[in-house]
Symmetry: C2
Subunit: 108 residues, 2 copies
């Protein structure tokens, strides 16, 4: 990707490269093992996914994402998780924009 | 979102906030008008979506994304576009990782 790309373009690249950063460590380079996924969740999503920091919580999440039930997380399955997080955040921001007085976060 | 969040968490937030940055300008604050969408594509995705920088190209893209055919782009429809870009980039990175010698980008 061009080095002068926008913040949006860079953010997409961060999300994609984050998958391979963990997936390529062990086994198939385009799948995350359970261990790789748990490490990714605890290192990269600890402020958003507070219920999945335990092994049990992360394994439950893997089970819900693992559409082809191979016990691993593919890029598409990872992207499902990113989409769920984004849609939840979108709902929060939408509510704040529609009615700023309802916002629980004072300031901006 | 916590200010000490990870680069991944920040990237998700950038992608979500980018939608509202354009959507809230005119009309419904949770939908992008065609004009807002064209502005977003030309300002934020010009290095990735090189075929959609013309009005015609952008309008064609809107038509393909506009699942509920209301002539506007909702967050879910916007997210479909982000997902398509991410999956294309993922395929490129996956190929480079599986066979680094096939990479068309010299260096790293």
């Amino acid at each position: 990707m061009a080095s002068n790309c926008s913040e949006l373009e860079r953010s997409i690249e961060v999300l994609v490269r984050n998958f391979y950063k963990y997936a390529e460590k062990k086994g198939k380079k385009d799948k995350m093992t359970k261990k790789e996924f748990r490490k990714m969740v605890s290192s990269e999503l600890s402020h958003i996914l507070t219920n999945t920091q335990s092994k049990e919580g992360a394994d439950k999440l893997i089970k819900s994402l693992d559409a082809d039930e191979d016990g691993k997380i593919s890029f598409d399955e990872y992207w499902t998780l990113i989409g769920e997080i984004a849609k939840k955040l979108s709902q929060q921001i939408s509510l704040q924009i529609q009615d700023p007085h309802q916002s629980s976060q004072p300031g901006h």
